[in-house]
């Protein structure tokens, strides 16, 4: 079964992911500015971009467990997933900066004083070097360090989910579901879990 899927996948190149991936943010901006996102389109855009970013982040984290436990190999799409995650979160950040808060002093105050913003910016900071080094040249030059560096994505994912938990008003379930899924996907990477499976 996994073999069949893998054979199939080998025929699908990664580049269409970039093309498809740009469509949702473009649609979102268009929908917002043309009045299709309700009465507060800026908040709608901001939240939707953040949520899509989390989806992509989770999709990227699924690649390794899928290969290890089910045998489906999506490795060649991982760079696209990662770069799109960064692109989505960057859009999320830009919407917050330019369309929402707008005022530089308020932006600084928020980053320094509001834990959910600090945490969100931390996640973005962790993702930036990953995006910059997501190219063949960096992989070649960095060798083992590239793999080490890219483990930062675990931190970015945890901070991203924490950002969501902290900003939700009152007790709401969805942010905890995201955190649970991310923790589960990270646990599946523990050497002990993997070893038990191979015995």
């Amino acid at each position: 079964m996994a073999q069949v899927v893998n054979t199939w996948l080998r025929r699908i190149p990664a580049w269409p992911l970039y093309v498809i991936g740009v469509l949702p943010p473009a649609w979102l901006l268009w929908a917002g500015f043309s009045g299709r996102l309700g009465f507060d389109p800026v908040k709608a855009m901001e939240h939707q971009m953040g949520e899509w970013g989390l989806w992509l982040l989770i999709a990227g984290l699924c690649v390794t467990p899928l290969r290890r436990y089910i045998g489906i190999n999506l490795l060649r799409y991982r760079r696209a997933l990662g770069l799109l995650t960064f692109f989505y979160i960057f859009c999320h950040l830009l919407i917050w900066l330019i369309l929402d808060v707008q005022i530089l002093s308020l932006i600084w105050e928020d980053i320094l004083r509001r834990p959910y913003i600090t945490v969100g910016m931390g996640a973005f900071a962790l993702m930036t070097p990953l995006a910059i080094t997501s190219n063949n040249l960096s992989i070649r030059k960095m060798g083992r360090n590239w793999r080490r560096l890219h483990k930062l994505v675990y931190g970015a994912a945890l901070l991203g989910a924490l950002h969501y938990i902290l900003l939700a008003k009152g007790f709401q379930l969805p942010p905890f579901i995201y955190m649970g899924v991310i923790i589960a996907l990270l646990l599946l990477r523990l050497p002990k879990v993997a070893k038990r499976r191979s015995h």
Binding site: G38, D100, I103, R113, G170
Partner: protein, 302 residues
Amino acid sequence: MSRFWKGRLTENDVTPEGVYLNRRQIMAGAAGLGIGSIAGGPLLAAPSGLEPVPYEAASSYNNYYEFGTDKEDPARYADALTTDPWSIEINGMVDNPGTYALEDVLKGREIQERIYRLRCVEGWSMVIPWDGFQLSELLNQVGVQSGAGFVAFETLARPEEMRGLRNSVLDWPYREGLRLDEAMHPLTIMATGMYGKDLPNQNGAPIRLVVPWKYGFKSIKSIVRITVQEEMPFTSWKNAWAQAYGFYSNVNPEVSHPRWSQSTERVLDGSRIPSRRETEMFNGYQEEVAGLYTDLDLTTNF
């Protein structure tokens, strides 16, 4: 509702659509400036009077967690609510406690229009023309006894009709409270309509409180109980997160919320990209209400 109160306002009294459209164009221009102004400093709305937001906006963008936590949820689901018959239980330290049919609460009252800016604790505001009467009239009618210090309010909690009650976001039923002098203040009204029409369910039909110098969540919706009492009442948001939501919750640009500054607010006026305006102390009603708080430190009593 309209059977015992005919709105005295006609459609013509509501800001004409042309004015909204014109304003929208002005705002679209300002929004363009906004993108460039990020390093240049605050982009604040041009000083304007209390110009109501379109009715469609005020009735489609609501916080009413009994119907869901998304802003669109109340407009989507509040139709399920039965608002007729409706009665309000008034009890506690009053001379005439009892359960009053809404018709009796409203009998003989003159309904006034009050155009207030609604400042939400989430950092946005919109201007809404309410129709209602002063809460003090009702309290005087039932007779507040001496020694009373506070008024507690309770929203309906009817799970069959309010799907949001399935989620324990807050400790239902939603409860709010005012100090007695705040409740008696002439700015404090019980609203039964807006824009000269009956209150839509999502805006708190059939009767709600509006306290314009406090954050919007103090203005409790769909009231079923009013209790006059000696001690400070339980309030739902304070119970959920006391560091963020105080009992008073006066609009105060000096006291920030743990999650955002309150120094400015996004003006939701129908423009695609809301501009920001500086938040005014007591939401602009400083002259009227500052006197209520002269012996309170408002940074600790937020």
